[in-house]
Amino acid sequence: MAMKGARIVVECLKKEKVDTLFCYPGGVVIPIFDELFQHGDGIRMVQPRHEQGGTHAADGYARVTGRPGVVLVTSGPGATNTVTGIATAYIDSIPMVVITGQVPTQYVGTDAFQEADITGISLPITKENILVTDIEDLAPSLKRAFHIAVSGRPGPVLVDIPKDVLLASTAFEYPEEFSLESYRPVSKGHPRQVAKALEMMSQAERPLILAGGGIQISGSTELANTFIDKTGIPFVHTLMGHGINPRNRDLPSGNIGMHGTVYGNWAVQNCDLLIALGTRFSDRILGDTVSFAPRAKIIHVDVDPAEIGKNVEVDVPIVGDLRHVLEKWIEADRPMPDFSPWVKAIREKRLANPLTYTQKEDIVPQYVMEKAREAFPENLIVVTDVGQNQMWAHQYFDTNRPRSFVSSGGLGTMGFGVPAGIGAKLGCPEREVLVIAGDGGFQMTMQELITIRREKLPVKIMVLDNGYLGMVRQWQDLFHDKRYSGVLLDNNPNFAELARVLGIRGRQVTRVDEVAEAMTELAQSKEAMLLHVIVKEEENVFPMVAAGASLNDTRTS
């Protein structure tokens, strides 16, 4: 039976078991919306207030579920509004399929109404993008998109479909398999390298595991826990590497990098073997490349060959799926020496350098973080925006479950928090979702509060309002003699009132003695709620390593 292209799109989504579609209509995609109206059973259509919000929501959904987030938008501005969301997902290796409508084929290239060359625009920020020019290619292109988005190193894929293709008809057949000579992600690590790495671990005195986002992406958290327990090797993690939680509580953990812990950075600088798992050694982790981990040999496991040797020189490169490599390491059951003097040294560093802050009259964000952690259940999903709020959340919510710390790591996208929180809640409705945002980032996408209301999602939001773009102000404070240029946000409204106007419970907190109780109210609210916390204006995030400085120079004030 012949089927229209628009219907084929809907049927492909069903074949891929898409249960949530972040979609915003427009001229050329009306045919798809029409088919969704009639045949979209089983697909929850979530309509954001802005396509960027929809894209971040799809991203949040993907981060907590591991399944691809799916976005449907129209041509031109609909498509270009997804760009920030796609770039955010791309750099953090998040699987996503973005379907954009395009002007009819015969108008492509004529500067037609709502025409934008979205395959051209999205080229450097997608894992793959496809302009479908023939109805016969439609179903295979969507199969290709879903396959490529989730396999190997995941990432966003964009499929651009001109209106005439949506209106053309053909027999619907969804390919069972996808196979392409030029696309064969490596799955197994090279046995000799895998064995060599283990050999080096057994001969090390001060080994250290650096856990990156690749661990949760590959579903290896439990394997990593087991491996850490088995070997007694201490570990540190990146912003994307939250979630490791070995049973052996004596093993110190901590985050590293620009706002990493003192002991975490110290451990990196003093280890003799660094076992980097699924990390791309971003500049926020490395600081100064030359003096990074100066005493260590480096083992680097990653599924993407291009990440190995890109930013640091590696002694043992292993290209492969972390799952496979960790399984092999665990199976080998190799006896390890006693690392306890090294573990003890890190633990002593930790005891000597705890995270500290001073809570006087003005509420400080670190205190708010602690109260939030006390008020919310342990299986909380934390979703952050970007900036100081993100770094404090990173420090104070050392999440012990995978896919439970959602944050724009690589791109650092302000405005990510609220919409990503929507996606996280849709992906894990049974779990509590707390969005932590600053007053700057919150205002970039706050229209999505209406989406929260419309979808009746009990998302909890905490806006830390210091009346500044805090992280930029911090840099101006430390490196530009306090010339606070362009960072003052002195006309912030009462966000709690704003929330109420939009139909969401809101509360503003200005006094320290209210914080704990207000946080309990936020945590226990059955419906969505926004807590607007007025915090100290000039509080800085420490520890801090200046951009490009050595991790040896981790400053605490």
Binding site: L123, P124, K127, L131, S182, D304, A306
Partner: protein, 171 residues
């Protein structure tokens, strides 16, 4: 990446002949900070196209380019061309005015030059000529440099094509 020890490298890239694949390859190379010195592309067999790119890069960056290229889904194979063991050619057309139009020059000198460089005169009219030369980039560059600049109307060059030789028998 440090810009030390830059030298020209040639990379042969086999891709699926899909719309936009050439722009994907070129965009990737330029966005990763490499200067493209030359590019040529042509369909070679069935559904595949071979793109030959010369870039300025150091050894480590060259390795990185290759790995990045493999991330383009339609890239099938990336082969670096060994500078010591390659065959490389470029073709150029040089359109020149009839030399008699300019004092102190003669067409005979031009024709001798074409001869010395194993070139061909592929078009001849009273107004002027089109010469064709093939060979290494250096050879073509020196051919062009020997023609009086005032006579040159237009130059069209293919960019290099290159291939690794068979391994030699004695090693």
């Amino acid at each position: 990446m440090a810009n030390t020890n830059l030298s020209e490298h040639t990379v042969s890239i086999l891709v699926y002949n899909k719309p936009g694949v050439l722009s994907k390859v070129m965009s990737l190379i330029t966005r990763r900070g490499f200067n493209v010195e030359s590019v040529s592309a042509e369909k070679t067999s069935g559904d595949k196209t071979r793109i030959i790119v010369a870039v300025k890069a150091d050894e480590r960056s060259l390795e990185q380019i290759q790995k990045q290229l493999y991330k383009i889904v339609d890239v099938v194979k990336v082969t670096p061309i060994d500078p010591k063991h390659r065959i490389v050619r470029e073709l150029a057309f040089i359109k020149v005015k009839n030399a008699t139009a300019i004092p102190n020059t003669s067409n005979m000198e031009l024709f001798q030059l074409v001869d010395v460089f194993d070139g061909e005169i592929v078009n001849a009219t009273p107004s002027g000529f089109v010469f064709q030369v093939t060979g290494s980039r250096d050879k073509i560059n020196s051919f062009i440099s020997l023609i009086p600049e005032t006579l040159i109307v237009e130059i069209a060059r293919t960019g290099i094509v290159a291939i690794n030789k068979w391994p030699s028998q004695d090693n």
